[in-house]
Structures are given as structure tokens and as C-alpha cells.
């Protein structure tokens, strides 16, 4: 499957681009611009790894999740599953991919169809994707409901009869029901009560450990993502600006944007209030990406070259990549 020395990645993107066309005109749709939601992104996910994806509005993190779920078509680049190009898959391979790569969305109220009972919600991917019969579906549904800490008797109820936390558990049960290997978690706890969030996080971690799942955890809450992830990628306006193992990222933050995100986190205790540099300007729109480094208008450390040339991701340490002109160790950005 792979050449000698290369790591076996379960899921991988290479140069992934997702551009949305901006059209104008009444009779004929002229394309007048592009929203570069994802612009040349390389991400890798191994078996049993949890990679966190942090970023704010317009960062492209949700688009990346959707692209990996085949809900958005890439404008360029590739997605590799077990080393094979997903865009070259035939029908059967796509079906298998969809059985193996699942998602849990943010809103547990919107992600479960209100017209179906829990049994049908969990059963649908089993019937359609895995070809199980009624009895098998019922058994498997009971099994996964137990695994997420719910009473199998809840199979018969409708989503509106459950609380937010319970609904999210159902969504998780649905995601593991087909023995999936990868779960894209898009802000899985943001819509839940604070007291319930940690329960769900613990459940996700326990399942990850037990079933050797790989997670791509998308979130804007750095603390929560840091808690769950082994590695974190920080995204800004469609690109990855920093990538490192969680501990390394928090201890040796390099990119000014990552520093700003960490600094912007609210304190745990009133005595921890600190003097902060508040980022000037709004987050730029993906319609109007600044020239050079995308972050430079908001960067307090910017220099002249930051407005001229786009920095590339380059290593600054063990398993630590940063896209920034400022770090003297990086030669890649200046050699072009």
C-alpha cells in the first residue's frame, strides 16, 4: 500500500482545495470571484489518533470536515483513504468509505430526524450501508445504545423526547454502529450544557480508546480540543498555520495567531486575568484574502515581507510545523 519508510496513514489530504464560485449576473452566471474556503491543505490521520482542528470563522475547518465526508467536492488536491484516492473510488468503494468515515455534528437537535424513532435513526446506515436485516439492526442498535450509556429501551422514542446530551449520545451511537474507523467530530459539545459537555467528552475518549477510533476533532474551544487531541492543527482563512503535538503547541507556541488564540482564552479564575494584546481588525473574509501572509493585517509582529510573500509550512521542531516568516529557523519561505 505504501512505499518503504512511509507511515501508514488511515486518512490523508494532499493539497486539498475547496473553492466556492461567486457568481453574478441575471441571465448567465458569471463567475466573478472565488471563496477560497480551503486552500492547499495537507492533513494526516493515523489509526487511533485524535487530531484537533482549531480555528475561527472562515478558517475552513468545517469545510475540511465536509470535504472528508464527501459532502463538498474538492476543487483541487486529493483525499487518500488507506492510501487510495477517494475521488477514484467506484460505487462499492464509496459505500465502504461511507461506512468507515462517519460524523457527529454540532447540533443534536438538527442532526436527528424528528420524524424517526431512535431505532430507525441508528438503523438507517445499518440497513442501507451494511445490508442488515430487521433483527440484526435491532440487536446492533441495542448494543451501540448501551455503549454510549443509554438504555436500549430508548430505541422506541422520538428525538424530541430526549435531552440534548442524550441526543448527542444517539448521534455518537449512530456514528459507531457500522464499525467505523474514522469519526469527524464537528464541535460535538458546543451546543450542550456546560455540565453535560464533559460527560460527552469522556464518552468520546472512552470509545476512542476501546474501539481504536481515529477522530478529527473540529472546534473553536482550544481547551476542549487540547484535552482530547494528541495533535492540533491551527487553521486561518483556509490554511494550516501551525501543527504540532498538543503539549508542544501549548508549551512552545510559535505562530502569532496561535498565540492570539491562546491569549484570547478567558481565564479559569478571576485572579488569572491578564494583560493581553487584543487583535486589531476583524477576521478577513475568505472573499478577500490579504496578499502575502493571510494573517498579516492582524499580526502585531508583522514585517514588510509578510505582506508580499505567503509563508509555507515548515518544521520548527520535532513534529512541529509553522507557516510564518518570523521564525529564523525556517528557510523554506525565503528560498522561493
Amino acid at each position: 500500500m505504501t512505499s518503504k519508510g512511509e507511515v501508514n496513514y488511515l486518512l490523508q489530504t494532499r493539497g486539498l482545495k475547496v473553492y466556492f464560485p461567486l457568481k453574478a449576473g441575471i441571465i448567465r452566471d458569471r463567475v466573478i470571484g472565488w471563496i477560497k474556503a480551503l486552500d492547499d491543505v495537507d492533513i494526516t490521520l493515523r489509526r487511533s489518533q485524535v487530531v484537533g482542528l482549531v480555528g475561527e470563522s472562515g478558517s475552513g475547518k468545517t469545510t475540511l470536515g465536509k470535504a472528508l465526508l464527501l459532502l463538498e467536492k474538492a476543487t483541487g488536491g486529493e483525499i487518500l483513504y488507506e492510501g487510495k484516492n477517494v475521488y477514484a473510488f467506484n460505487k462499492e468503494e464509496i459505500k465502504a468509505y461511507r461506512r468507515n468515515v462517519k460524523t457527529v455534528f454540532q447540533d443534536p437537535f438538527a442532526s436527528l430526524s424528528p420524524r424517526f424513532r431512535i431505532k430507525e435513526i441508528i438503523g438507517e446506515p445499518l440497513e442501507v450501508g451494511a445490508g442488515m436485516n430487521k433483527k440484526e439492526v435491532e440487536e446492533r442498535a441495542a448494543e451501540v445504545l448501551g455503549m454510549v450509556g443509554l438504555d436500549p429501551g430508548l430505541m422506541k422514542v422520538f428525538p424530541h423526547e430526549l435531552s440534548g446530551g442524550q441526543r448527542q449520545r444517539v448521534a455518537i451511537a449512530r456514528a459507531i454502529s457500522t464499525n467505523s474507523k474514522v469519526i469527524i467530530l464537528d464541535e460535538p459539545t458546543s451546543a450542550l450544557d456546560v455540565s453535560v459537555r464533559l460527560q460527552i467528552v469522556h464518552l468520546l475518549m472512552e470509545l476512542q480508546n476501546r474501539l481504536q477510533l481515529s477522530y478529527l476533532l473540529i472546534g473553536h474551544d482550544l481547551a476542549m480540543v487540547a484535552y482530547m487531541s494528541t495533535d492540533i492543527a491551527v487553521m486561518y482563512l483556509g490554511k494550516i498555520v501551525e501543527f504540532a503535538e498538543t503539549k508542544e503547541l501549548l508549551r512552545n507556541t510559535v505562530h502569532p495567531y496561535t498565540q492570539a488564540l491562546i491569549s484570547a482564552a478567558l481565564p479559569d479564575h478571576p485572579r488569572d486575568k491578564k494583560e493581553r494584546t487584543i487583535l486589531a481588525e476583524e477576521i478577513a473574509s475568505p472573499l478577500n484574502i490579504p496578499p502575502g501572509c493571510r494573517f498579516h493585517p492582524r499580526c502585531i509582529q508583522r514585517k514588510a515581507t509578510c505582506a508580499e510573500r505567503e509563508p509555507l509550512l515548515a518544521p520548527v521542531g520535532e513534529n512541529h510545523l509553522v507557516a510564518c516568516h518570523l521564525d529564523g529557523q525556517k528557510a523554506a519561505s525565503s528560498s522561493i
Binding site: E56, S57, S163, G164, G165, Q166, D193, V194, S195, V196, R197, L198, Q199, V201, H202, H220, D221, L222, A223, M224, A226, Y227, L250, A260, L261, I262, A264, A265, L266, P267, D268, H269, P270, R271, D272, K273, R276, I278, L279, E282, I283, S285
Partner: protein, 348 residues
Amino acid sequence: MNKDEKPLLQVVGLTTYFFSFRGERIVKAVDNVSFAVRKGERLVIIGESGCGKSTVALSLLRVLPPSAKIVAGEILFEGEDLLKKTPKEMARIRGKQLSMILQDTMLSLDPVFSIGNQIGETLERHTNLRGEALRGRIKQLLLDVRIPDPERRLKQFPHQMSGGMRQRIVGAIALSCEPKLLIADEATTNLDVTIQLQYLNLLKEIQKKTGVTLLFITHNLGIVAELCENVIVMYAGKIVERSPVMEIFDDPGHPYTKALLQAAFGLQDLSKRKPIPGEPPNLANLPPGCSFHPRCPYGKERCRQEEPIEISLNPTRSVKCWYPVTIGSQNIPMPKIEDAGNFKNLMG
């Protein structure tokens, strides 16, 4: 805080229920809530969804939906009971003396009217400003909330602005008539982290400049730690703890507060976080005794049977619990029902 000064807002025994269509089900959204807000203060009501905090805010402004009714209590704003005001009188107070900003700016802002029009609407209603003077004031307000190039923004529409900008516009509208009290209900929940910080700093600056009193309503402990002086914790429609901010973080009194602090996220001590078992209760079907007892790790027999009364831990702190968990609480004798209502000093 000057204890002799009368509080700006004094809420006494506020009780708001939601009634189902034929009245057979009653949701006790707010149950006998009393608190005071002093001039210039930064007070926060913290709690999760369903605890009643937003209903308190809507009750203060008297903008409850038709299915809700304030069945008891007094809302004394500068000494006058808002519940006794006529709709006309309330309309003069809302927006001028008392103002509110909400979480979802796309609901607060009308998509078909320009920004200038929407800010101007409040000013036209409550002031005599018109024409050039009105435009001047609108532009100044936009600058006050740090929106550059106000002349251009006047003509723009909400959808043309980012979430952070819209939240500042909503802030500008709320502050336009120089209210004495600003209620911010989850005002930053939808904002990005870096934008949220900008916004909270903006509110702090505005308070320094205008002396407006701030009442925050949130579930985010980080906002409490960053911004607030005094904290009120709500659970299942009732106030379960009150305290200045430092003390409540150092030494929470109510088991719920303690559990919430332990379950919340922060970059420190990630491994020490513990979840709270169970879920917030159904307000139409509350358990007997203490509403928190099904989830409480310290619950005893009394908690299951008798609803706790609020007891004073010291002159600035109180907790509604039979067995408070503060470090010094072993010294407090267990209260009897006959002692209920004996802590008037916390109400200003």
C-alpha cells in the same frame, strides 16, 4: 460598594411561570428570585439552559412571550415597581432606562432596514434628535463601539457585516439612549474567541466612560472570571448561591457551583476536570426537596424531602443548601425552616 446607597435595581420574590395551552402544565421558570444590583456594578447571573436566567431578564424588561406570566414579585427600578407600570410607561423605560442585548444578532437586527435606520429608531423614539443632529449622534455611537468609517456603515445592512460587528451594532443600539442598566444575555456566545475578547473589553471601556450598570447573563465561567464582580448562580429556576467573584471561585458554597467549576474547561488542570452526572431537571416536573439532589454527590435524606432555605455564609455570601460545601461551612449550624427569610441584609 456603598451599602447605604439604594440599589439601582431591586428584584423581590420574582416568580414567572409558563403555562401550557389549557393550563394543565406549569413550568416554574423563575421561582421566588430576589436580588439587587447596585449602580456601576458588574453582576452576573450564571446557570445552564433551563435554569431561568433568561426568563429573569425577559421579566425585568417585561417582554415575556404570551404563554408566560409573572405571578408574583416586585421589580423595583430606582425605587419604582416596574410591574405596576402601564404598557405606555414601560415603552418609555425600555431602551431608555433599561436596555438589553441578546445572543442572536440576526434576530435582533431587522434584515431589511439599514444600520443607520435601526440605531436611529431607538433615538427617535426616546429623544428629540432629528436630522443632522441625529445622524451625528449615530455616527458617534458607531465610533464609540469601535466601528471605523461610520459614514459608510450607516447605509449598510446587517448581512453585510460580520458577527462581531453586528454584536457591536446591537450594543450601540442598546447604549444609544444612555440607559442606566444594560442587560447582556449571552451576548458573546456566537462570537469567535478573539472577537469575544474585543467585545468584552469594549463593554468594560463603555462602563468606565458612561458608568452604566451591567447585568450579564451567561453560562460561560470564563466571562464571569474575566469581567464580573458579583455572581448569582441559578439552578432550576431558583437562586442557589450568591457571592463576590473571587470567593466563589476559591471556595464555592453550593455543590452545583462546585461541580460546575470542576466540569468547565480551561487550559489549566485539564486532567482534574470532573463531569456532573445526569442532566438539568425538567422544570415542569421538578423532583421533591432540593432540585439538585439527584445529581448531588453530597445529598442526604433531608435534601430529598425538604427544599433548602437560603442561608448566609457571611455578609456578602449566601447559599441555598442544607449542607454547604465551603471550607468554613462546618461552623454554620444547620438551619431550621423557622429561620427562613432571615437574611435580609443581602438584598440591599
